[in-house]
């Protein structure tokens, strides 16, 4: 039933964190080595025919424009065709989608998708917070990243009775999962009280409602369906994907309780894959803030609109719950190295569907996983990728 023209045959990432001792290039090499080593039947770097690189913001480490040439040189395969993708927070997941389309086009049979992001070479004030002064000098002034999601929390709480405890339950669950993930930035549990007592960052969001700033890299190998068996007997198929855009400015959102870009992208991915929300076994979704995961699980169709907070606090999205969400720890615990995030999420889906996720393994019932990112100023773009182990 799925599209299934392209197979994932390898996936890998480096331990996320504040990687002050690693350069952008060293992180890229680490992720590439991990993906090469992950291929069941062996893989030689020279087999890569082309690469798609996701890096969202080179300015965070002083690079105005990173071309597609930076990564092949760093990982030892200079000369291959390589293009950089930038599409806001979904850059990594969009690179994956584009990589799949490149393979499906027949131009290249073996494509590396690699996401690399250096977030911590600049201080917070010079890095992400400086966006308070970016964009329109009036309509965006003061708009740090939480300002793009906190208005949804205010309105969701007002309209549906969502509580700070419900928001906090997302952080508690994802830190629990992160403690089981050897690649996560944060690998320790937190309590609900710790979330509630953490300092306010952007009311109603507090520090532990927010993802950290993380350096990281992740990579996957995509090959044509015909050649998948050369690399593995357990391929994971690209069942479908969807991308959607919405108005970028916060004052142009149609509502403040949902993200239309996510809904549209999901509808397209579900239609392409023939998979419905209740056939998804697990999802890696964009939880840059706790409220974002609550919006996501509603907009992706896992729970009814308005019930995301209750579903979270009641454990429906825990590893053993009805629909496990972010078993990797999500952006909140695993981290959010922007260009790498989507690729790392796909990696988690790959491992979960192949029963390789260790202590955080979910129960695979239907063989389908969903990966999602949303971002771009006021959530102006979303990407959903659906993966499956079910051969068409």
């Amino acid at each position: 039933m799925g599209w299934n023209k392209v197979a994932m045959v390898g996936a890998g990432l480096i331990r996320m964190g504040e990687l002050f001792d690693q350069s952008y290039e060293q992180m890229a090499y680490g992720a590439f080595k991990a993906v090469v080593d992950s291929v069941d039947k062996g893989f030689d770097p020279s087999q890569v025919e082309a690469a798609i690189v996701a890096t969202q913001r080179g300015t965070l480490w002083g690079q105005e424009g990173i071309g597609g040439n930076t990564v092949p040189s760093a990982i030892g395969i200079a000369g291959i065709p390589c293009t950089r993708v930038e599409n806001a927070c979904p850059s990594g997941s969009d690179a994956f989608r584009i990589g799949a389309m490149v393979v499906a086009s027949g131009v290249h049979d073996v494509v590396l998708v690699i996401g690399v992001e250096k977030m911590r070479d600049k201080s917070t004030e010079e890095g992400l917070l400086s966006r308070a002064a970016a964009g329109h000098p009036v309509y965006n002034r003061g708009e740090t990243a939480p300002v793009l999601f906190a208005p949804f929390a205010t309105r969701h709480m007002h309209d549906f009775g969502t509580t700070r405890e419900m928001l906090a339950s997302v952080a508690v669950k994802n830190h629990h999962n992160g403690a089981l993930d050897p690649y996560a930035h944060f690998q320790s549990e937190i309590t609900m009280q710790q979330v509630l007592d953490s300092p306010p960052v952007c009311h109603p969001l507090h520090l532990l409602d927010c993802c950290p700033q993380t350096d990281g890299a992740a990579a996957v190998l995509l090959v044509s369906a015909e050649r998948a068996k050369e690399f593995t007997d357990k391929p994971v198929w690209v069942a479908g994907f969807g991308v959607a855009t919405d108005h970028p400015y916060m004052h142009e959102k149609s509502s403040y309780v949902g993200l239309p870009a996510t809904t549209m992208a999901a509808e397209r991915a579900y239609a392409m894959s023939g998979v419905s929300p209740d056939e998804i076994d697990m999802a890696e979704v964009h939880d840059c803030f706790t409220i974002t995961e609550i919006l996501d699980i509603e907009d992706l169709g896992f729970v009814e609109k308005g019930k995301g907070g209750i579903a979270s606090i009641e454990g429906e999205t825990a590893i053993g719950g009805r629909i496990p969400v972010n078993p990797s720890g999500g952006l909140l615990a695993k981290g959010h190295p922007i260009g790498a995030t989507g690729v790392a999420q796909v990696t988690e889906c790959f491992w979960q569907l192949r029963h390789e996720a260790g202590d955080r393994q979910i129960e695979v019932r239907n063989g389908n996983a969903l990966q999602h990112n949303v971002g771009g100023r006021g959530s102006g773009v979303a990407v959903v990728n659906i993966l499956t182990t079910n051969a068409s």
Partner: protein, 494 residues
Amino acid sequence: MSDDAKSAALCPVGVLSVGASIPRGRLAVVDIASAWGLPGGRGSVAVCGPDEDTLTLACSAVERALDAADVAIDTVGGLWWGTARPPMPEGPSYAFLATAVGLDETADGMLASGSIHAGVDALWAAWDSVACGAVKTALVVASDALIPGLGTGAERSTGAGAVALVLCGLDGSSSPAGKLVSRSSFTRPFLDRYRGDNQPGTGDPYDARLYREKELVPLVSGAVDQIRDEIPANARWSIPDPDGRLGKVLARATGAKEVCSEGVFAKVGEAGSAAALLGALRGFQDAGTVCVVAAGGGRSSVVVVELSGPLPGASDAISEFDGGARGVRPLGYPSVLRSRQQLVAMSDPVPMGVPPGSAAFVRGNVEMLRLRGRRCGRCSAIAVPPSIHPVCPSCGALGGEEIALARSGTVQTFVINHTMPPPFEAPLPLAVVDLGDGARVMLQGMPEDASELSIGDEVGLELRRYALERGAPVYGFKVYRLPSDTSASSKDEE
């Protein structure tokens, strides 16, 4: 002066209304004194927040004066602005204010500056333009938010504020409550308060007794004496009071019996170019004669106003002494120093994505200063701001009509940002607001509203300074919470 030098018959003009704007922030003078290890200090001075300056004060005073006169801005022939320290000493200060108040691009007017005498300079020039028939209706605004030098005596007396008057001809087409009937001026070259070309703040270097008794008293008397015969004994006087004591000395010297400016200094300090008209506000409440005396920059001038009844707008203007409808807001000395950029973080403040000289501001200044949107000709949705929407974001249609957006609405949702780099100050509310005309905007709110803001709150919009970079200000509208006893509908009707 020779008898031929002045006209025997000065041509009077009408005064339709007055409007005032005084920043709500108040700094206790004792706080300034104690910061410098000095004893004492009485009263408080009105001080700007980081997003206010002489232009934002002038803008709201003008809007209030127009409201009080029920005059539409498109019937105003010109704007005369007096301010000792315009936001850009060289630059488009006047053009920014004229645009912000909605004045027609072809209108007359000028920016008078150079000293705190500038308010009266602007008033005289506007008077002349109305009298000679160049314009029928004129706006005059005197405003200042001077930046005193650190540790100077001026620091303990410098306040801020703005007063606007709407003037008209006396051709019978309108019946103004006030008339400008007489004036005089006197000049002597001496330094009182001044700021040199390379100095950041205003200081007052002279010995206080020399300044008070040897210079200022004869200066002001020199102006008053010229027209003393024309001033009735029961006139109400606005007398300069640069330090809270000199006002009494000057009143004695000039023979002013009823001093309507008394007590103003203790509430707001000395508001530079606006001081003379602020001191006159209490005198504008009833029929009679008001003598407005200004002094500064080695000049003193007197303007005599005759009133047939209360001047429209006077009582609202007087309420500004106590913070207007929203009340005063006590501010600490460090916060005032930050607002004046006299206290700056060692880390460089984060620059804007594009500097104020960028083409982005050429495209966007008018729509930011006037809060413009574009109403779609097909689906009537309003796009904000027009320059970033080549087509209607709702239906994709091209074109439509540019409109001025409503200045009030309700909060759809909001946040309070606590985490920003310098020069931002927390807590900073940011609100998505559904305006009365159906447009939606997201704008900054006021820090003092942070603890109370809620979804559904009625809010108003007013011009504030969003940034000051490379010496150039960026202005746009901000959201303030309307006091709960003021309904949005009554605000809309104003």
